[in-house]
């Protein structure tokens, strides 16, 4: 089905210059889905969905930081996400408030602060909507290289720490006894989430990044017998969702980011109809 849609889209584009943006959008979306699939599985296993959401909401603050300092929005996002993750870890160690409360506080206050900061920086032309919901059809060549290059980097890092990451997902104390450098692995994982948020903002926007991480993984759970199988299937389901969403927004004039997420949700619902295994 996915292949049919992709083929149909390429046929429709017919190679004219006007339609290059469709191909770029498709390639960018596929590149992103190949990484968010496996990474999203780990987020689901570690029950970190709301953590990912909080980091992505803080990304708007990173955009403002990027503008303000001239280091670029993507670097700004990665830095702010890492800072927020660190602050969160410190606050959680205090044990005065529950994790969900802390995440809620940080998530919404950073989103608000980001919007305020962008409003104050009024001299910079900022398209707020595209940050919130993405603008996949505005992907340029540079974005494409960033997504495939950054994505390959994240996948390589993920493959490198896969075993210790699984070990500490199963049981943190056990992993520590067996000599897994728990803190470093967790930090590496947080770094990967931060990079992916920075890359995904252009495609689905910061409000919908978590959907691309969580929904394909949740759909893949139904079919998977082992963790690696689930990671691969999650990536494929994500690719399918990107193709379907882009195709749908081509047929009917609807915003592409939300269309991709809606397509992922449809695939998730379809997966629930399949009898469970393992």
């Amino acid at each position: 089905m996915t292949i049919t849609i992709i083929t149909a889209m390429i046929m429709r584009t017919g190679g004219t210059a006007m339609d290059d943006f469709l191909l770029r959008g498709l390639l960018a979306g596929i590149g992103l889905a190949l990484v968010t699939g496996p990474l999203g599985c780990v987020i689901v296993w570690r029950r970190m969905a709301y953590f990912g959401d909080t980091l992505s909401h803080s990304a708007l603050l990173g955009v403002a930081l990027g503008f303000l300092t001239g280091i670029g929005t993507q670097t700004g996002i990665v830095l702010v996400c890492l800072a927020i993750a660190l602050a969160l870890t410190l606050l959680q160690e205090q044990r005065r408030l529950g994790s969900d409360t802390l995440l809620g506080i940080i998530s919404h206050s950073t989103l608000s602060l980001g919007m305020i900061a962008l409003a104050v920086l009024g001299s910079v032309r900022v398209d707020l909507l595209s940050y919130l919901f993405g603008d996949i059809l505005a992907v340029g060549d540079a974005d494409l290289y960033a997504i495939w290059g950054g994505g390959a980097l994240v996948l390589a890092l993920l493959a490198w720490i896969w075993r210790p990451l699984l070990a500490l997902t199963v049981d943190e104390d056990l992993a520590r006894v067996e000599g897994v450098p728990v803190r470093r692995v967790r930090l590496g994982f947080t770094l990967m989430i931060a990079i992916i948020i920075a890359l995904a903002m252009k495609i689905v926007g910061i409000l919908l990044v978590t959907a691309l991480l969580i929904i394909p993984a949740a759909a893949a759970r139904r079919f998977a017998k082992g963790p690696e199988g689930m990671a691969v299937q999650s990536a494929l389901i994500g690719v399918g969702a990107v193709a379907m969403g882009l195709g749908a927004s081509l047929q009917v004039d609807v915003p592409t980011g939300p269309a991709i997420v809606a397509a992922a949700a449809a695939l998730f619902l379809a997966s629930q109809a399949v009898p469970a295994r393992g």
Binding site: A167, V170, R176, V177, R221
Partner: protein, 279 residues
């Protein structure tokens, strides 16, 4: 004992906030020795285990491990999220480079061979404990550290697990540090019992500890549960005081059932050890 112990903790003190979790606690485990740590909830058992494993640093005192000591740790429980598809074989391969044949072999040793391709979340309490034990054994440990290994296991299963741990000690000659808050059934194969309640209340051979006034004060009328199980084993004592179970070396499962039945006969523990020295 001329051989240095595998693990020796000396005069350990640990404070959390202004609460003393452990106060001047010492323990040692030698090769082939089973040391059982008992005490009520909040006695600091798990803290002491974490100190022995090197996960926590003591405020005072030292923990010495034999050079190159390989520890096989079996945690109290393991809660793998249901969203993580994890067959037993994949779980075991997370911690060692064992081949499937080696996994089958060690699972057979603990009696959990049929579970190899099942999802770890679907195992019963007893099956999970056996798989966790198998995981620890795959490390070829010199020292097994078992934190409440019989939690969530029925009485019959508990007896089997303790028999299994005793058999593994005999076969592999490794030291065992066992933690329990459950006083029933623990003692039969133990060489040394340490009764912990933030400090070491008393320690020694099982039958000595069970008569120690501090132990009786701590566990009250439940204290005699120890002796009941003990007697049902019909063991004798060697000259040095070591327990030598009758019908030694695990000819099968036959004797387990005997324990299960005799368990409920209430012998007083004062007569069965007649002539044995008191602590």
């Amino acid at each position: 004992m001329t051989v240095p112990p595998l693990l020796e903790a000396r005069n350990i003190s640990l404070t959390r906030g202004d609460r003393a979790v452990l106060d001047n606690v010492s323990l040692s485990v030698g090769a082939g020795e089973i040391v059982t740590l008992i005490g009520p909830n909040g006695a600091g058992k798990t803290s002491l285990v974490k100190l022995c494993l090197g996960l926590v640093k003591p405020d005072k005192g030292t923990v010495a491990r034999a050079p190159g000591l390989n520890i096989g740790y079996m945690p109290q429980r393991l809660a793998v999220d249901v969203t993580l598809p994890m067959p037993v074989a994949r779980f075991l391969s997370l911690w060692s480079r064992a081949t499937r044949a080696e996994m089958v072999c060690v699972l057979a040793e603990v009696g959990a061979e049929p579970a190899i391709d099942r999802a770890i979340q679907t195992l019963s309490g007893g099956e999970l404990q056996r798989v966790l034990l198998a995981r620890a054994l795959l490390r070829q440990p010199d020292l097994l550290v078992l934190d409440e290994p019989v939690q969530a296991v029925d009485v019959h299963g508990q007896i089997e697990l303790f028999e299994l741990i005793g058999a593994i000690r005999n076969r592999r000659g490794c030291g065992v540090l066992l933690v329990s808050h459950d006083l029933h059934l623990v003692m039969a194969r133990t060489d040394t019992v340490i009764c912990l309640n933030r400090h070491v209340c008393c320690q020694g051979k099982p039958e000595d500890v069970s008569r120690h006034p501090e132990y009786v004060a701590l566990f009250g009328r439940h204290a005699d549960a120890l002796a009941i199980y003990h007697h049902s084993h019909d063991h004798s004592h060697a000259d040095d005081g070591c327990v030598v179970p009758a019908g030694q070396e695990h000819t099968g499962h036959g004797d387990h059932h005997g324990c299960g039945h005799d368990h409920h006969h209430h012998h007083g523990h004062d007569h069965a050890h007649g002539g044995h020295r008191h602590g």
